[in-house]
């Protein structure tokens, strides 16, 4: 479980922000208004943001600043949104991309 850093010896107390609610894969969570979606999820102990399209292995953030696209999720129906860059807002519906179908592999697994 990860936590927020409420007090910091140099940076001081955490900035007070309004709390908002959102859903991720149909489960309800709370986060701070305007913080990146990835930070809000991590503060709730959620590291896995999606599964690799082909291998179905779990993936989370890598660079946290928009370069690697590892953190992409679907936000209010918009696919491929980088969760490390996107500010959280009240009522957002966030979903993992999920595994894409791999018809060729599925077919060969069944028929070979």
């Amino acid at each position: 479980m990860t936590q927020r850093i409420v007090d910091h010896p140099i940076l001081g107390s955490i900035e007070e922000k309004e709390q908002v609610s959102f859903t991720f894969n149909e489960k309800e969570y709370y986060g701070m208004n305007g913080e990146p979606i990835a930070a809000a999820l991590l503060a709730n102990g959620v590291r896995t943001l999606r599964h690799h399209e082909e291998k179905a292995t779990p993936r989370g953030i890598y660079c946290n600043i928009g370069h690697c696209f590892e953190c992409r999720v679907t936000v209010d129906g918009k696919q491929g949104v980088r969760s490390c860059l996107t500010p959280l807002q009240e009522g957002m519906v966030i979903e993992s991309g999920g595994t894409l179908p791999t018809p060729v592999k599925d077919w060969s697994a069944k028929n070979e």
């Binding site: 927020r4 955490i14 913080e35 990146p36 890598y62 370069h67």
Partner: protein, 405 residues
């Protein structure tokens, strides 16, 4: 049409915006991140005079100063493409299309990955990712981490994690492979660590910087490097152990380390597990120059500056009309150098936009860049000055034949 468009709201882009706006130009700054400041945001370290370099405060100061001068700052706005037609630059963002005669690229740097087995597991992140989570968003990347890759940036960030109350189990090298080459070689790492020794309370590293001036001594240093590692800010730094794998079912549960000899080869049978819930990978920085590559600007590989560099002169002009570069896109250095380069670029743009009598100020700004570089607290590459000289030579070679036509 805007007078000036700047891509990147880091210290370089913001300082340039301020310099342009002070001369009365209309400036638009575009950045894909949700806050202004770029990679300055996460920085936090104690300076030699005992004061703290607080990236969040510095960023807020630059942001406010720019707003006060009327600079337009568009955040959450990725730039996808740029084109050049009839002396005019067209900038395609995710939301709209803009145009200008003066375009500054200040897109900064990115981190190189090190593909250690298991590195795609959730909980594995770049060391910069952990820095931003901790210092900017104030969420712990985990309770106990392992840092793979020992360099200036990872040493600084290890200390920042400790400051925030996060346990760092150890820092170690990655297993040697064709991809990791120098970063996995203990002698090379020790060599570059000697350049951060003033930040390290450890007697070993401190003495090291005085004693190990020649190669032979360095080799000795590695051979006698204590097997248990040395401690920097209470974090064991292992130059004689390498991470061979990151393990975990659904997310990181730990790493397997093994002893390596002074050439970086694994000693069989020495494997052991270190528990952790996050892993940081520190592969070093390289200039993020994708947008500059789209323009057809010539590039040169200069290792001393961290990678491929778009050709530019000291006034921050590229050989293309109306295209300028500043900050880490021109080579990896600290935030203060990036800001000084930004100021230079801003003054150069003001001059090219028709503002007269700026030559003296531009010369002074170039001086400030050099002085800032010489006084730098964090040096990403020990031979950065040599790298800068190489760019100057390339510029001369490039413009000389054009002049004689």
């Amino acid at each position: 049409m805007n007078n000036v468009i700047i891509i990147g709201a880091g210290p370089a882009g913001m300082s340039a915006a301020i310099a342009c706006a002070q001369k009365g130009l209309d400036v638009v700054v575009i950045d894909e991140y949700l806050k202004a400041g770029g990679r300055l945001l996460g920085q936090l370290y104690e300076q030699p005079d005992g004061s703290w370099w607080n990236g969040i405060e510095e960023s807020a100061r630059l942001h406010q100063q720019a707003l006060d001068l009327g600079v337009q700052i568009q955040l959450n706005t990725p730039v996808n493409n740029i084109e050049h037609h009839d002396g005019q630059w067209t900038i395609y963002t995710e939301h709209e299309t803009l145009s200008t005669n003066h375009l500054l690229l200040a897109t900064g740097a990115a981190e190189s990955p090190i593909p250690v087995p298991g590195w795609t597991l959730p909980g594995v992140m770049s060391v910069g990712a952990a820095q931003v989570m901790t210092n900017v968003h104030r969420v712990k990347p985990g309770e106990r981490g392992v840092i793979i890759g020992v360099n200036v940036l990872s040493s600084a960030i290890a200390m920042e994690l400790k400051l925030a109350g996060i346990d760092v189990a150890c820092m170690a090298l990655p297993k040697m492979s064709q991809l990791t080459d120098q970063q996995a070689h203990p002698k090379h790492v020790l060599d570059s660590l000697l350049h951060v020794s003033h930040m390290a309370p450890s007697q070993f590293v401190k003495l090291g910087s005085k004693l190990m001036k020649n190669d032979f001594m360095k080799k000795l240093g590695v051979t006698f490097y204590p097997k248990r590692g040395v401690n920097m800010w209470d974090i064991p730094i292992q130059l004689r152990k390498a991470v061979i794998e990151i393990y975990g079912e659904k997310q990181v549960e730990g790493v397997t380390v093994a002893t390596i000899d002074s050439n970086g080869e694994i000693v069989a049978g020495t494997e052991e597990n270190v528990e952790a819930d996050f892993v940081c990978i520190a592969g070093g920085l390289y200039p993020l120059a994708e947008l500059a590559a789209l323009t057809g600007c010539p590039f040169y590989l200069i290792e001393e500056l961290g990678g491929y560099i778009p050709l530019h002169n000291e006034r921050m002009e590229t050989p293309l009309d109306g295209l300028y570069v500043a900050g880490n896109i021109t080579g990896i250095e600290g935030a203060k150098v990036a800001a000084a380069q930004g100021t230079t670029a801003g003054l150069t743009i003001a001059k090219q936009a028709g503002f007269e009598g700026l030559d003296g100020e531009i010369e002074e700004a170039i001086q400030v860049v050099e002085e800032t570089r010489d006084q730098s607290y964090i040096q990403f590459h020990p031979e950065v000055n040599k790298g800068r000289e190489m760019v100057k030579e390339k510029w001369e070679e490039y413009v000389l034949p054009l002049r004689s036509i």
